[in-house]
């Protein structure tokens, strides 16, 4: 996975100054957390379903080898093929081979984070195969040559005018000459262009939200209907997904259907939820004659049996993104990875490597909101802390930070010194700008704090010294 997470600091600095991005992010945060709250309140069983979802995933992960074997057996029984890919390269090559064997010239793709992870589209295009993203958001960023900035709403960083400019630039050669300023018209233009792509495609590529071992079924969740057209019109359907997506039964799938759209977009369910089981049956009116499932490892199995195993429960709902103060401040591109927000901060160091992605687990206020709302109860802050420990142990962080932490640890071990130092600091700070409640600039490294936010001016004495004094008062 190609990541540019080393640039997190400069990318987030420019993101903070990007007023259009800031507007999009605040809209995202407000809208989705409000909508989620409403639908969750309307389902009294929600918390219990979260427990069950966690337990189903834990059970499946503990028996992952067996569930994968069962899933493969069922797909084969329905006439399909399953391929196991240990690396992104193996997965790309497998999909490319399938496309080449079916003489594919045109491919439609529905939304899939795993295909972004393995950079499948550039690979197909380099081999002379037209590969079109059909999820509207993915289509927009494909035209712009950008990465997704959100795992569910990939173009959420853009506003309507930017989309309009993008369409105007790219659709003129297709005979669409008007610059559109109406949202409905933009959607209609993309619909018209992509409808043609659906009807002509030789191969349809999708991801999978869940794989059901019991029946060999692939579950796909969309609002647009692009997955349904991608998987029912072309003669070949290729599913590309991660090994951790398997769950035991259709009954277990029901738990996740109840949780996914509520967590992701604050709706009871999305417009379409498809359960696809193999290839076209005898007599069927449509559907592919060839059905392939590519199961990707790419570092996932390395999380089993470690402190990061919990992360494999993730269902990519994105709730942690739009409840994260850091993600909502800097947007998805700053993370430099296709996975962003808290889930991306835990996943990226594993799928790329810690050296490249060490900034991400540090990009957290540790407010705990992500863990509070995660439908499968992943302890995201704890996992980010594990990465921080590993970063420290591997000496990947700066010398200043390591010494700073050592100093801090030492202070914490000696209460008397700690109280003396903090007491002096608080006294000093209280004298700066003594007529104000907040300080908007501080000298030295403390200036990094006040560059973006104010600092509450201390009143002059530490909690401990006030506590002692009050105790004395009580004792007297």
């Amino acid at each position: 996975m190609d990541v540019i997470s080393k640039d997190f600091v400069p990318l987030s600095s420019s993101a903070l100054k990007d007023s259009s991005l800031q507007k999009s992010m605040s809209l995202l945060g407000e809208e989705l957390s409000t909508r989620r709250k409403l639908v969750v309140e309307a389902l009294p069983e929600f918390e219990q379903l979260r427990d069950e979802a966690r337990d189903v995933k834990n059970h499946t992960l503990a028996h992952l080898d067996l569930y994968l074997e069962r899933f493969e057996e069922q797909v084969k029984a329905n006439g399909g093929q399953v391929y196991f890919a240990s690396t992104a390269e193996e997965a790309r090559q497998t999909v490319l081979n399938i496309c080449q064997q079916s003489n594919a010239k045109r491919v439609t793709k529905s939304k899939s984070m795993v295909t972004d992870e393995i950079e499948l589209v550039p690979c197909l295009e380099a081999n002379g195969i037209e590969a079109v993203e059909t999820d509207l958001g993915e289509y927009i960023i494909q035209l712009r040559g950008e990465r997704p900035s959100h795992i569910v709403a990939p173009a959420v960083h853009l506003n309507k005018d930017q989309v309009s400019e993008t369409f105007f630039k790219h659709h003129r050669k297709l005979g669409f000459n008007a610059k559109l300023d109406n949202r409905a018209d933009l959607v209609a233009e993309a619909r018209q262009i992509l409808r043609e792509k659906f009807l002509l495609a030789d191969v349809g590529i999708s991801g999978a939200n869940f794989l059901v071992a019991e029946t060999g079924t692939v579950v796909l969740v969309t609002n647009e209907g692009n997955a349904e057209l991608t998987t029912s019109l072309p003669d070949t359907h290729v599913v590309v997904t991660g090994i951790e997506k398997v769950i035991p039964t259709m009954e277990d799938a029901s738990i996740f259907i109840r949780l996914l759209a509520r967590s992701a977009v604050g709706a009871d369910i999305s417009a379409y939820t498809s359960f696809i089981t193999g290839q076209r049956r005898e007599g069927d009116l449509d559907g592919p004659s060839n059905f392939h499932v590519v199961l990707l490892d790419n570092g996932r199995s390395g999380m089993l049996g470690t402190e990061f195993q919990d992360m494999l429960r993730c269902i990519r709902c994105s709730a942690c993104l739009h409840h994260c103060p850091v993600y909502l401040s800097v947007g998805g591109h700053a993370y430099g990875s296709v996975y962003n927000g808290p889930m991306g901060a835990v996943l990226t160091p594993q799928l790329a490597n810690l050296d490249e992605a060490a900034h991400l687990p540090n990009a957290s206020t540790f407010c705990g909101k992500c863990e509070e709302i995660c439908p499968v109860r992943i302890p995201l802050p704890k996992l980010m802390r594990f990465w921080r420990n590993k970063e420290g142990a591997a000496k990947l962080n700066s010398l200043t930070m390591r010494w700073g932490l050592k100093l801090w640890a030492m202070l914490n071990q000696y209460p008397l010194i700690y109280r003396a130092v903090t007491g002096a600091g608080v006294a000093l700070l209280s004298r700066i700008g003594s007529d104000r409640r907040f300080l908007n600039s501080l000298p030295g490294i403390a200036g990094n704090w006040t560059k973006y936010r104010d600092f509450g001016r201390p009143e002059g004495r530490t909690f401990m010294s006030q506590w002692r004094e009050r105790r004395r008062g009580v004792d007297d």
Binding site: L68, A184, A213, E251, I269, Y272, R281, D286
Partner: protein, 228 residues
Amino acid sequence: MSKSRLLQQVRARLNINQGDLTRQQAVDDRINQHAVNTVPIQARQSHPILVDLFEEHITQSRATVARIDSIDVVVDEIQGYLGTSEFCINAEVEELNLPFSECDELTLLPWKPKTSMTACVTLCLGAVAETGSLVIASSALNGVSQNFLGEKHIVLLQAENIVGAYEEMWQKVREAGTMPRDITLISGPSCTADIEMIIEDGAHGPRQLHVIIIGQSPTDYKPLPQVR
């Protein structure tokens, strides 16, 4: 071989004792029992309430719903919705032998594969009330694309085929034999919120979804009991 290498890696990480047969037993049991998990209380109500709940949910997702007492008036209802229009039907609707030819405003066109249509009328397997979801299944009589390539989609739903929870539908499918290639839950018209988070209908599938509920609630319906 990739498969054995990958599964080997999984087993090594999980620290599995090769002789441990209880793991396979646990997997077989879970799949064979396919036990029902928590089913929301709103999905476990009397049938007439479930029909209302279905309608409430799917209209919240901007679909429209009509209720008719009998299939005899379904052509009038379709005409009322479509006005003067051409339309297609799938083979399941064809089998109902509805008197479309008596209706001058409607022009029935033959269905052609991989072709966009003005409107399409299809049947469904049933519906799930808890989220207002129609259940369609692919077959020789119903192509998935027939449900997606029309600008308008009209679905005929027998009231008695409405159930409370998803689990009841899976049980029906199991009883019918093998899984169809495709089962899709349709819970509203095709839509997208990818531009500035505002919902716009008609992304790739039908811009409009109209559900015609036919007939009455059955008298012998039993909602799922709560097992946990």
